[in-house]
Amino acid sequence: MYSRTSNRSRSILVFLLVLAALIITLYYRGSGGVISRAQGLALTVVAPAQSAVAAIGTPFRRISQYSLRLSEVTRENQRLQRENIELNANIGRLRQVSAENERLRSLAGFRDDFKLRTTAALVIGRSPTSWQSVATISLGSQDGIKERASVVTDRGLVGQVVTLTKGTAIVQMIDDRRSGVAVEVVRTGATGIVEGRLNGTLRLRFIAGDADIKQGDLVVTSGTGGVYPRGIKVGRVNEISDTAYSLEKEILLRPAVVYRKLSEVLVVTDRPGE
């Protein structure tokens, strides 16, 4: 074997490594105006192609989803019909309770956190690497979207807007490894932070050691921190285990939303209750 390296090659390598390190430093220090502009440009270039692919792919994806879910839907339909009968019976009673609740909330000065104004957006692109869980959506600053706006679906929390251009935005999903969501366990009121794990599950952390957590417990946003509105479904406790080298229990959640299969989302544009 002979050497393919030369002084010129080594100089190029050193120059590029230093340049990459400089870019990382600028980005982590938050002083990357040029980087943000480059990101915006990259999104602007790729977004039309992403929209086109999303538009072509959506009908096929839906057809395959429908055919795969046909028997599941039939069973679910039968179950829902039974539930519907029971629920109708409960509606009258719940209306009474709701009216009473509203009166009490008004008296106590509570805000209604669930009155969210949202705008529907299409998911036109997903993460080009395995290491981030992000999606590009079809709305941007010209549509009234702001950075850190919450993104949800009817099933639960999706994430927040982290990068904006005029016509598109990048959403960081809550299963991204850099994501942290302040949450509350509905049954007990215990609070903690949900972190992303990239493999489709979420980890519940920083929860009190004596907190009563059971499999199946519903976890919702607590509203602490101000990024996400209160009460949005995050997931259910799926696995609780002791870890060998930590006092903290390993609590894994099954997310309410399948982040990598989303085709439409809702972006929260206003939270008038707050």
Binding site: R8, A20, G32, Q39, V53, P128, Q132
Partner: protein, 169 residues
């Protein structure tokens, strides 16, 4: 078309495909890294300097669409491009499986290095989980795609004898 124009065109097209079509054939977080295949082929055919430039460009383009760690992909792919470029091309011969094995190994090294840089920058990384659930399957997926792409890219990017002879001198 001159070889000098072929590379940017292939890089740009691969970048668009990586951002548009590849995520829809992903299994969870596991997806092939087409840009890595382009970097490996470029480096094998044109040597370490070209490999480093190809790696830097590909990594930076990928980083721009995945906010959170901009520059990390550029850093790691630069090192990958240079390292692969130092391998004697004749060692790979006409065997298709050797380049594919190389892509699998490089993919594992690339992702391990990526995680290492993130770890050094202060992120909590669960190496075992990432290795089993993302690095190994992604390397296999990238190698499988590389099996189909390597000969095609080799034909498109090959033939720049003048540049290679400079590298070899």
């Amino acid at each position: 078309m001159r070889a000098d124009l072929r590379f940017p065109l292939i890089l740009f097209t691969t970048w668009v495909v990586q951002a548009t079509i590849v995520p829809s054939v992903a299994f969870g977080a596991v997806q092939p890294d087409l840009l890595l295949v382009v970097v490996v082929v470029s480096a094998v055919l044109r040597g370490p300097a070209f490999g480093a430039v190809a790696g830097f460009s590909a990594g930076l383009l990928q980083d721009l669409l995945a906010p959170g760690s901009i520059g990390v992909g550029a850093l790691v792919k630069t090192a990958v491009g240079y390292s692969v470029g130092t391998i004697d091309r004749t060692l790979l011969g006409d065997n298709v499986l050797l380049p594919v094995a190389l892509i699998a190994l490089v993919s594992m090294g690339h992702q391990g290095a990526y995680l290492g840089v993130l770890f050094l920058s202060g992120e909590g990384i669960d190496f075992v989980t990432f290795a089993l659930k993302i690095i190994l399957p992604s390397a296999a997926y990238t190698a499988a795609v590389g099996l189909a792409l390597f000969p095609v890219l080799g034909r498109w990017l090959g033939g720049n004898q003048a540049e290679r002879s400079v590298e070899l001198s």
